[in-house]
């Protein structure tokens, strides 16, 4: 029994780790209807920059983080300037493709700037099993993931406030509905995009830090995006809480499946199981768990 609990808990934690990545997707999709293929690479790029600033320039942690945030904001501005601005009102698939180009560029830049070796990322984030849980309940909980979960919670809270309370936040929500409305709020689309992409960049940094501390910062970081996709469909592309809850469902689902079913079918089922799970949900709610309902009319 305790083992089952352990599996579920680990699933929840892993799920939150996915959510961290999914959040970035949601923010951008919500505000600009763009499915940002580059989100994973952005996480890698952010983490690389962070480590680079610390290793190559000997920045203290706090400064390095600020520096990285600055870099991500500049990046967002560039993306808007060079790319989005020229692709206003294109079909989603075109914008999607553009972000792929972006992913390629960032991938190359990251490697050229910071090199392709594994880089250790140690921000003093607690790591390893929680001894207390292990000794008193024989339950294995990864400290890092607890920390990540806490961070995610804070981040979501922050985003909620940002969206609800601030003028810019409301503007963002407006954009989500329609671009004209946004303009009426008195903020130009361009500004809004820069902001969204900056926020997404910062979210990417957080995801990069968490995954980076877990496995060292290296190219594979960019592949975590794949882990976020089922979370996205499940939660709906436009819902922040959806990203979190979707993540937890996927996390628990795949872990339980892998641990209890995997052994009988040769294992490694969690990847496709996550998608199957999401698919099943979709068949009942084609717009995802928290996505807006689609009403068809002529």
């Amino acid at each position: 029994m305790t083992f089952f609990i352990e599996v579920v808990l680990s699933g929840l934690m892993a799920g939150v780790m996915y959510s961290l990545v999914a959040l970035g997707f949601v923010l951008i999709f919500k505000a600009s209807g763009i499915f940002n293929f580059a989100q994973g690479v952005m996480a890698l790029f952010a983490a690389l920059t962070l480590v680079g600033l610390m290793e190559k320039f000997g920045f203290p942690i706090w400064l390095a983080i600020i520096g990285t945030i600055a870099v991500m904001i500049v990046l967002a501005w560039l993306i808007e300037r060079v790319m989005l601005r020229h692709l206003v009102n294109q079909e989603p698939i075109i914008l999607f493709m553009a972000t792929i180009g972006l992913a390629y560029v960032l991938e190359g830049m990251g490697d050229i700037l910071w090199g392709s070796d594994v880089k250790l990322l140690d921000l003093g984030i607690p790591q390893g099993a929680s001894d207390w849980m292990l000794d008193s309940f024989d339950i294995y909980i990864e400290k890092l993931e607890v920390f990540a979960a806490a961070t995610a919670a804070i981040m979501v809270a922050f985003l909620a406030v940002f969206f609800q309370k601030t003028r810019i936040g409301r503007a963002l929500r407006a954009v989500a509905d329609d671009h004209q409305a946004a303009l009426s709020v008195g903020i130009s689309l361009h500004t809004i995009w820069v902001i969204v992409w900056s926020v997404a960049g910062i979210v990417a940094l957080v995801a990069g830090i968490m995954w980076g501390s877990k496995s060292g910062v290296q190219f594979s970081l960019s592949l975590i995006a794949l882990k976020a996709l089922p979370v996205l469909i499940l939660g709906g592309f436009t819902s922040v809480p959806g990203a979190i809850i979707g993540g937890m469902i996927i996390g628990v689902g795949e872990k339980v499946a892998e641990v209890y079913v995997g052994p009988f079918v040769g294992g490694a089922i969690e990847n496709w199981f996550a998608y199957m799970l999401a698919l099943v949900f979709l068949l009942f709610r084609p717009q995802g768990l928290f996505g807006e309902k689609i009403i068809e009319r002529v």
Partner: protein
């Protein structure tokens, strides 16, 4: 001159030159490295070791028997398709044509095995690739000495037996294999199953999908099953995460054995002190305290021609690249000796490999005394000695060091498997067995 013409032609057409302007006879040695992509962290040190050694030969001895080596790197990103393109691109290079390929990826090796036999270029998949290629009668062009995955697996079993106080004590023990869910990772499974039958231990295989950043469920299962020993066939980020996870669940590191591709500094450093005592297979020494390394520093790095950072010379994977280069160059030297000319081609190098013998004495001459095991390759046996040792990580000193002698593989297990697998290949691709006398 060649470069210039190349530049012009390439700029115009982007076609690689079919053959350069005749200059001194060069030994064309392509290397398929991967300095990009998810596996770059492992690919880079190997490529550096391989390249540095050959460059050192050029600088120190002006090549092999005075014939300069022209090293042609080609980036594969550990991607099979790119690997094939590299092969097609480089096989015809120069007067000699590619002398030997070092695919550095199981996937690419499998691609090249059939092609090599037609293009008559030997493949040196050192300690990786297709295990049954050890059977030289069916795979005349492929060499995977000094040892194969299957031999290694049996060696690990023996080591475990020893630690348990005798092979008989393996009965009832539980051994888990955490493997990269790909052709490479699957290699040892059958061997270990056979071994499990023979020694009566319980065997469980836990696949980890590429890239392997998320292994919670794998290690949860290990927590549930509580295997006495865990082996790992991992590559890339999978290694680091696995070792960390193992540490987190307090799995005794000295009961955790990785394949020799899961035993480099990159793999253990992220786990920090917790990785102390982790074991892995090895067939050569770590460290840079050998004559060859000094020569590399002197003749290559001091001239600013080094491929990597000076302070990373002697890392495990660097030395692996180095030893690969050493054996390859020895095979080429042998080929020149046999055919009495420097103007050799791939087909001759094959003979060189099949007559290769690098014993202690020769290693000493090469400035690599005790660096690795003596190797003797023959026409039917392309695996060579098949001996494997174990190395252990000392987290405080941040050093790997060999902690066991070299074990003989359990040929009674691997032998039949190799025969079976190679003959199946022969049947499917109607290859006829050649005679070796």
């Amino acid at each position: 001159m060649r470069k210039l013409t190349r530049t012009i032609v390439a700029a115009l057409l982007a076609v690689p030159m079919i053959s350069g302007v005749a200059s001194a006879y060069e030994l064309v040695m392509p290397t398929l490295d991967y300095r990009t992509g998810p596996y770059a962290p492992n690919g880079i040190p190997f490529a550096n070791g391989y390249g540095d050694y050959l460059n050192m030969l050029n600088e120190r001895d002006g090549g092999i028997n005075g014939a300069r080596i022209s090293l042609l790197p080609c980036e594969t990103g550990y991607n099979t398709k790119k690997g094939v393109e590299c092969y097609e691109n480089l096989k015809g290079e120069g007067q000699s044509g590619a002398l030997v390929f070092q695919p550095l990826s199981t996937g690419i090796t499998y691609q090249l095995i059939p092609k090599a036999s037609v293009d008559e270029i030997p493949i040196f998949s050192m300690g990786y690739g297709r295990t049954s290629a050890a059977n030289g009668k069916i795979f005349p062009w492929v060499f995977n000495f000094p040892a194969t995955y299957w031999s290694q697996a049996t060696v690990f079993v023996q080591y475990i037996g020893e630690k348990e106080g005798g092979m008989e004590n393996l009965k009832g023990k539980k051994i888990a294999l955490v493997y990269h869910n790909s052709a490479y990772g699957k290699e040892p499974i059958r061997t270990l199953e056979k071994a499990a039958e023979k020694f009566g231990f319980e065997f469980m295989a836990l696949p980890v999908d590429h890239p392997g950043q998320e292994q919670k469920s794998t290690w949860l299962q290990i927590r549930r099953e509580k295997p006495d020993w865990v082996m790992m066939w991992g590559w890339g980020v999978m290694n680091q995460v696995a070792i960390k996870e193992a540490a987190s669940i307090r799995y005794p590191m000295d009961h955790f054995i990785g394949v020799w591709w899961s035993g480099s500094e990159n793999d253990v450093l992220p786990a920090g002190a917790a990785a102390d005592g982790y074991l892995s297979g090895a067939f050569h020494q770590p460290g840079d305290n050998f004559g060859a390394h000094d020569d590399i520093k002197k003749h290559v790095y001091d001239k600013g021609m080094g491929l990597g950072d000076r302070d990373r010379i002697g890392e495990v994977l660097y030395n692996r690249g180095l030893v690969a280069a050493m054996w390859t160059s020895e095979a080429i030297r042998k080929a020149m000796e046999i055919h009495g000319t420097n103007e050799i081609k791939g087909i001759h190098v094959r003979d060189g490999f099949e007559a290769l013998e690098v014993d202690e004495a020769r290693l000493k001459e090469l400035g690599l005394a005790n660096f690795t095991i003596p190797v003797k390759v023959t026409c039917e046996n392309h695996e060579g000695p098949g001996q494997v040792a174990l190395q252990q990580w000392d987290a405080k000193a941040k050093k790997w060091s060999l902690v066991s002698g070299f074990y003989e593989p359990l040929r009674d297990i691997t032998g039949p498997l190799i025969a079976e697998d190679s003959s199946q290949y022969a049947a499917e691709n109607n290859v006829t067995e050649r005679s070796c006398n």
